[in-house]
């Protein structure tokens, strides 16, 4: 309950959409049936009932970490494999209700080198090799820590062979207590007279 209260306070302060907050309610449970997604009030009731019976779901009182942006950079040698993986990752995000900010393809990087063709002499005859790395960047926004953990685990377990992924998370934190109020308010009035003279 404390977690839910803290969650509501955070949501009012930040720019999260209202339906997102009411849907998630500070707890994550991976419900396989999607027909309950629309019924918001009933879902919170169902959540509490399901948690008592389902041993896989655990509830903790610590507040959720919030991520402003989750950036997945997927790289591989084969462009078709990357395209199919991007389709899969976007579909998984949509099914879990994660909003995809943008999907863009940074330009490929080609690493080329020229070697001598022969073992001993023949400097004029060389052979050239190249290695191409294609990129696909997936940016997801407004995730909670548990959503991010679930999504990343699912998507990483299904990474095809020969494909690598780099994940960058942008976390949202509350302003530290010592700078919550502007510094000039706390200064004593004597300093103001010194500035005048």
């Amino acid at each position: 309950m404390a977690a839910a209260g803290l969650w509501r306070r955070l949501c009012q302060g930040s720019a999260f959409p209202v339906n997102y907050a009411s849907r998630i309610m500070g707890r994550q449970c991976f419900l396989p049936n999607n027909d309950l997604m629309g019924v918001r009030l009933a879902r919170s009731y169902v959540d509490t009932q399901e948690h008592k019976s389902n041993p896989l779901v655990s509830i903790s009182d610590e507040p959720e970490t919030l991520y402003k942006r989750l950036s997945l950079l997927v790289k591989g040698h084969d462009k078709t494999v990357l395209d199919s993986y991007e389709y899969f990752a976007v579909l998984a995000a949509k099914e879990l209700g994660i909003s995809v900010e943008k999907v863009h393809r940074p330009p490929k990087k080609i690493e080329r080198f020229t070697l001598l063709k022969s073992v001993h002499i023949y400097k004029k005859h060389r052979v050239q090799y190249e290695m191409r790395t294609h990129y696909v960047c997936l940016e997801l926004k407004h995730l909670t820590g548990s959503t991010a953990a679930v999504y990343l685990e699912y998507v990483q377990r299904n990474l095809p062979e020969g494909v690598a992924m780099e994940v960058k998370k942008t976390k949202i934190e509350t302003i530290p207590e010592h700078i919550q109020k502007p510094v000039c308010d706390t200064l004593p009035q004597a300093e103001e007279t010194q500035v005048k003279s």
């Binding site: 591989g76 990474l159 095809p160």
Partner: protein, 169 residues
Amino acid sequence: MAAPVAARALRAVPWSRSCVPAALGARRDLHATPACLKTRAARVRVGKGDKPVTYEKAHAPHYIAHRKGWLSLHTGNLAGEAGAAERTVEDVFLRKFLYGTFPGCLANEVVLKRRANLLVVCLVLVQSLAPSKLYFLIGYAETLLSHFYKCPVRLEVQTVPTKVIYKYL
């Protein structure tokens, strides 16, 4: 008569192969490669038509990513990733090991896939051994390689009655 007229016309216009009129029958061909160019890498030379060749062997290395795939799939060769040399050494050992474990049975090159910690070895075997012997060899290879490389190794085997011939060279 026609030839000097044609030559004068060609000199007036900036020279390019495309503007040569085909109707005149005059052709200027450019020799871009030296006459004795012979790249021999991973190519089966054309013969009398009696040499059977699989799809993998029939295509030269410049067809990789166009008509051919990769035989060894790992992230070592991607930009910013490490471990390419270790994977290559492992691959060489694996190919030699499998070539020896299944004598005369390999129909095509072995495909190696690395997914996280798991090593998947994909084989296409010719049905020259009895199935019980094949099962034993598969189990033996899996156990030995898992113990050697300290990672789960899975052999995915497909059998085929004879080697699949793509063409005769």
